[in-house]
Subunit: 215 residues, 2 copies
Amino acid sequence: MNPENIYSEDKWLPFNGFSPLIKVYRLFHDLTPEIEFIINSHTFPVTFKKNKFITSPLHRDKCAYLIINGIARGFMKEDNQEITTWIAKENEFVGNVSNFWDESEPSDEYIQALEDVVAIAVPYTMSKLLYLNYQVVNYVSRKMTQLHYLQACERALISRLQSAEKRYLRFIKSYPELVNRVPLKYIASFLCMRLETLSRIRSKLAMQFTEIHPS
Amino acid sequence: MNPENIYSEDKWLPFNGFSPLIKVYRLFHDLTPEIEFIINSHTFPVTFKKNKFITSPLHRDKCAYLIINGIARGFMKEDNQEITTWIAKENEFVGNVSNFWDESEPSDEYIQALEDVVAIAVPYTMSKLLYLNYQVVNYVSRKMTQLHYLQACERALISRLQSAEKRYLRFIKSYPELVNRVPLKYIASFLCMRLETLSRIRSKLAMQFTEIHPS
């Protein structure tokens, strides 16, 4: 079954009549009607129930996903331990980009919905088609990849801060929308600390806050 | 003093007559003579002595650097401790890209030469000029930024592996050219472990190797 057929021509009805990917692209540059037509035709909405896998190493995915509602995490497995490497929310892309960019290298990453997720599937074949034929898409994609690069640098930095408390304080600053949405065990894993350490830090900070702002 | 003037028209003599940046761009796409002329005119060779800063938060740099010879590291300061966030070698770019991409956000990153470094300075003004006028440069830059993104993801992953030995083994696999070139204290910092831990792991691995391959 081809998921595109599920939605047929009505697929964009719940999204004001067009693919939300167009709105994201337009943040960086105007698009021609031709490009918008291709995006509307090739992308399609998908949903993933909470805790379900969006993609896994066993399943070489052919799409990236633009999250419209919900949050998701990426993780790897190391000796039966899961290591959360990133957490994404609305208007962010998730997917095993290395599948697309470097087809020789299968990714060992899992992507899991942490809430019920509504997303737009963006087939890699469409991205290739756009890159080849529409230079403006290379411009837009360069800008978006730069943002992803800076986000990845932040993930590489936060894990290297020596004190667990500093890592959590930086998490609050860098990811304020995630603090109260993501189960603590995943935040702890993302911040390279045990769940008990994270709980202790949160209690301490809550206490300090109460002392400064007594009710 | 404008560094471009130091080299005048002979600046590319030690580099087979043209900017090495052209060779890097050409790995991804052919260039027009016009683009090559702009690159040859605007980029210029620079050198940094071992241990000198290539850039620092105090100095809002106007260039990225393509390393031709030598290695460099990026680091941040946290409570008088230096945290090494990346190490780069020949044919890699270094620079505070956030200075260029997001001018509102000054970076708190230092970049230091770990060997005598020969590099090509790539002024951000030139990159902007190329992006605006030559679509193929957006294509090339998109491809290069994708590589940088994957490298940043690797840096974010390696620091999250739970066992120090696994982090070092992955370092050997992911950065084989750096293992014997970078002072151990920087490798230890990059891998979120104490120098003593790294030394212990290296001794253990050397011993295992000797047992397997007795002389």
